[in-house]
Amino acid sequence: MLAQTFRCTRLARRTTAILLASLALALCGSAALAQDFVYVVRAGDNPWNLTQRYLKSIDYWPRIQDYNQIIDAQAIQPGTVLRIPVAWMRGERTRARIVDVRGEVEQQVGEHVAPLVTGMQVEAGAVIRSGDDSSLTLEFPDGSRSLVGANTELALREIRRLKASGAQQLDVELRRGHLENTVRPVGRGGGRYLIHTPAAVAAVRGTDFRATAAGDGLRAETIKGEVALHNRRGTTRLPAGTGSHVTPGKAPEASSRLLPAPRLDKLPERIDRVPFRVPIEPVAGAVHYRSQIAGDAGFTALDSDRTATEPAILGRDGLADGSYRLRVRAIDGRGLEGLDGEREIVIDARPEPPFPSAPGGFATEERVRFEWARSPEATGYHFQLAADADFERILLTRDDLQEAQLTLEDELPSGNYWWRVGLSTAAEGRGPYSDIQRFRRPPPGPAAEPPQVDGDVLQLRWRATDGAVRYEVQLGRSGDFAAPEHTLETTTAELAMPRPEGGTWHVRIRSQEAGSPPGPWSKPQQIEVPQSHWRAVLILLPLLLAL
């Protein structure tokens, strides 16, 4: 926009029509006014010494006269207010310092590309690019800081200190990405901070302020101070606690209040898993939540910067164990990020727990066997089994396991259970527990009462199991039921079957609950069935027929 303003001025000169020039100035005025250095003429001031002190060269003096509509330059009265566009002012180039860096960050100067590291100085003309999960903080000579977020491209156009006031003039182009600034109050010394984006220009005056450039335009939020959003279609002022959105080709939208800071006091002290997502209290009107995690309170570089689509804080994979600062903001429907909620968190996620593989859902084997993924580094595993999901009624705690499995010695009564497992390593000590695994233990099969043989029918009865919708009954010649001769099922607690061949049989029963696989078998029982002779009779049949 600066270029546009300049072009306007040149056009005015070429036509030498003051009227037209005035018109042009009027068109560009509001932006120019905001960026002008104001000087109150004192006694003894004249164009030369003023030029000497403030302007780039004496060539600018006629423009000052035009600009301030001074007819007679020789007769400038003390007390006259002179507005001097900062662009015409005398200044010196300064550099920005890289305070902190995370991830992959590079600068391009001309054709030359080089990675940026902490402590480096960058000059105007450089283009800074950050990759995924990368960030850096630039510190300008006046102490202002800008945090450059991930996947951001930022061109430094101008870093200048005005000789007149020592005020700093920053002019950057945010081509894409995210910028968070803490700018020193600039007062009236001609200091300014302009952020150009394709959609609009943000003029910042001593403020905490964020700008995000994306395909759909520019979003700006002012935390402290004030920001003016300006493009050819209009200007919007953003007082503290407001934000707005500018779509390319449209006037900046009206400002709206930023969402309040999310409450973080209910977050756990320690987070035992990365990446993580921990729910927080929702903020009314929020659609997303952005969590930033940094190692230092100044948030000079972000170790994690994630946006959740639900009320939750997120931490990216690879966050090392340690103490961090966390700040979280709610994001409203326009994409404007709200005020920061901030607190400290501790990440203690290592060594990572093993992956629990069984049981899940149901456990029907006689002695339940727990299995998890084996870790080569593990020096031991710790295991917990509980009767509730909150692990308040813990049934079993084992801290001495060497194998990646545990088989219970005793048969588990029927019911619902929860279990989790963690591991220890020599390097990182004891790690957190895994996600909680739930399983159900169906009731064991009932024991049959003594059978009744009535003619050709064998009758079995047993005590009904609560919740059972079906029973399965097996009769086998051998007690191991390797190949049971009869497998029958019934929905009631009794069974009538054609009488089997005589001799000793083993019977076992299991019950099945709705929606569950069959439960464990009952203990096998032996029953005796009296002999029947029809087979012997059959063998005599031919002889009999002969007679």
């Binding site: 992956f355 859902g361 087979r535 005599l540």
Partner: protein
Amino acid sequence: MTPSAPRSAVGTRGGWLVAALTTALLTLTDWSPVERLDLVAYDTIEPMFRAEALAPASMVVAIDEATLSALGRWPWNRSVHAALIEHLSAAGVASIGLSILFPEPAPGDAEFARALADSRRIVLPIAPRAGGAIDGGIAELLPVPQLASKAAALGHVDVELDADGLARRTFTRAGSSSARWDALALATLKIASGEPPAAVSGADARLDAGRSGWLHRVSQRTPWVREGELLLPYPDAGTAPRVISYFALLDQPERARQLAGQTVFIGATAGGVDGGLATPASPQGQRMPAVEFHARAFEALRSGLAYGTASPNTTLVLSLLFLILPAWLLGRMPLRSAVATGGLVVVPPLASGFALNALQLWVPPSAAVLGFLLGYVLWFAQYIGRTRGALIHARHDADATLRSITDAVITIDNNTRVTMINPVAERFTGLGQGEAEGQLIGDLLKSYTDLTAGALGTVLASLKHRQGIRLPDPIPWHSPDGRNYALRLTATPVGTSREGGEGAVVVLHDVTETLAITARLQHEATHDLLTGLPNRALMLDRLHQALANARRRGTLVALLFVDLDRFKRINDSLGHYVGDRVLQVVAERLQASVRTGDTVARWGGDEFIILMDNLHDESAVAAVARKLLDLLEREVQAEGGTDLVLSCSIGISVGPQDSADAGTLLSMADKAMYQGKIEGGASYTFYAPEMNTWSRDRLSMEAALHHGLADGEFELFYQPQIDITSGRLAGLEALIRWHRPGSGLVRPDVFIGAAEETGIIRNIGEWAIREATAQAARWRGEGLNPVPLAVNVSARQCSDMGIVDTIRDALACSGLDPRMLKVELTESTAMRDPERAAELLHRIDALGVGIAVDDFGTGYSSLSLLKRFPISELKIDKSFVGDIAGDNDDAAIVRGTIALAHGLGMMVVAEGVETESQLGFLARHGCNLAQGYLFAQPLPASEIRGWLVQPPPHAARAVRNSHARY
């Protein structure tokens, strides 16, 4: 089988009671058949059990034919007898029995009487004479008193004729009214041994009939009384007495000396004089002369071999005692031993024999034998009757059992023909008893099961080895009513192997329901009931297996851990019912997105795992993951008209690259999923970071290809093919180029892989064919000389016949002569599925379009296949051409390929010809065409125009030079 005990006892004893009564009756009544039986028994038994006889001490002096002829006709003057007796007396014989009756006086009596008197050891015979007594009874025919008084004793010659008319016995004493007279043989014996005869005087030797213990009343009149029955041994030839002729003694008195001490019986043997007696031995020879009978009786008495006969009462008692034995035994024996009891029939004859031997007592055995036989037969009849009743009962039982049991029963004979089927079997086969009977079991089984071989094998094995066999696995059975069963087959042979068997019983036990239950339970134990997907346990099992397979085959296994985004919210706000419905829909969609053979499992809650096995690279995984995300994003119609939009996060790990351990692989997929979820969900994330990059690049490449095709970013370049002999332009190969925005000109090897995977290669390929034909048509329209144009087709395009339609359509649209078009496909494309390729190529050939095989020599062509394809051109790969000048192997391959192609009538094109020496080599070996940088690189259509007008001179020059060089 086991009738009640009382019935048995009555039954058994009843039979034996009848037998005992019969025996008594037979014993006590003289029923001639039984008597005859006894006589036969005697004749048989006696010789066997006869005791040792003494050395004979008697001789017969026979009045034989010779004597009669010498002494003249009978009767003689009795002085002849006197003379003889004198001789004999003189010789010192012990006694003399005369078997000649002297009832009336005759000349010579005086001399004879004197001789009798002198001798004092002569016994004269007395015979009974019927009607001789005063009352008409039986009188004694005595010798004339003159002789009788002189005889040492008188002896009766009464011989009893048995029921069979044979003489076997005589009596110790007999006489009219009283048994006064010793038998002739006995009297003679007494004389010989010096005993006084029983009755010397005929007058006072009368015995009182009342004193006789055993009166044999012959007539009511004066009876002939007998006493002391003497049963004589069977008259076998060996015991016949020695005989000397009467005349010989008279004629040569000195011969009488040999008779000293002996007893002599004198009697007639000549037929005319003595009729003789019929004896048991008679059937073999002559009737026995009476004198011989007496002589035998003498010897029998002397040796103690004349037997008494047991009284009927004794016989009866003994017989009954005998019958008790079988009656007692048979009730207490198993059947086999009971049958053997029949052997007891020999006991009575044996006992009789022993009695004869030891006691000289004859006990007639026939009644006992007959009684036993009767009892035995009755018992057996009873037994059989009872058994039959039991069997009939058993049959009814069996029949009822067979009808009521739930098993199908089929009985077969040894020839495997069906003899019977029960109602259940009728139901299974749809056949009636009559229809099934006589069918071969194999034919029967064949109609209902596909496992006939196994089933029949079992039946045959059972028949052969005579043992029951159960087929371990149930056989599937298609019953005619359309239902399918699973039947467990058992074959049990009938009878024992010793008897050869009587066929077998085939039992088919219906286990359909059991199997169904087992299968369902197995399914329930391994599957999630809500979604029907495999559960955690089954998934883990398959994962282990897949990893093992992957290690062996060198393939990959991918695990996709799928977690629904925000599922908890659905469950919490819409309830579990909707949540469950959503899970079911998700399960269906997941299954729809995977390849057949991949496993979709429910891990728990809203977590699913997809196991992709047997992968060759990861690209298929990303494709499935994308498809899955797409499918899941479609709205789910929930109850109550709410449409839900779902998304999921997918974490992917690939084994064995990421890990070969199932648990680790799972945890990696889980971790990747979790990370994706935290990054915002609705995405897939590989555990391996480089895979994410690769996948993103591939994705953008695919999108760019789609855009490229739509935006016309593809262009065909053409590379000239030069006739090696003439140097003229002989063809063009169309080669695709892609003007990718921002990347410049992209060569096919960069993008064809991605295009193949996404399938867009079909569209690109189709575009290439249309563009090439259209270009050729344009050139023709400009009046340029047409040359054949070759277009490459990819393997994917050859996977169906669609390309044929494309070619036909493109030719029709452009009006191009089909001979001006060639398709090129690589050797590996052709060989991938030779059958399909052959069909495709034949169809293309039928359009008149030529076919070239590209990159020949790089794959493994089967020569026989090559012959079957309608190939018009082989293209030698540039890797061979590059080195032909130096490398002998490559040169040999090229030479061979050229020879082979020409042999099969194909043209040969060499690719990648860059130097004149290569061209020279090719020219020398008769290669037809060459293309390569020596002539031109692939050129845009606009530059080819010039070639069509007039090939640049350097081409012709190169050909000339190569010819010149060699």
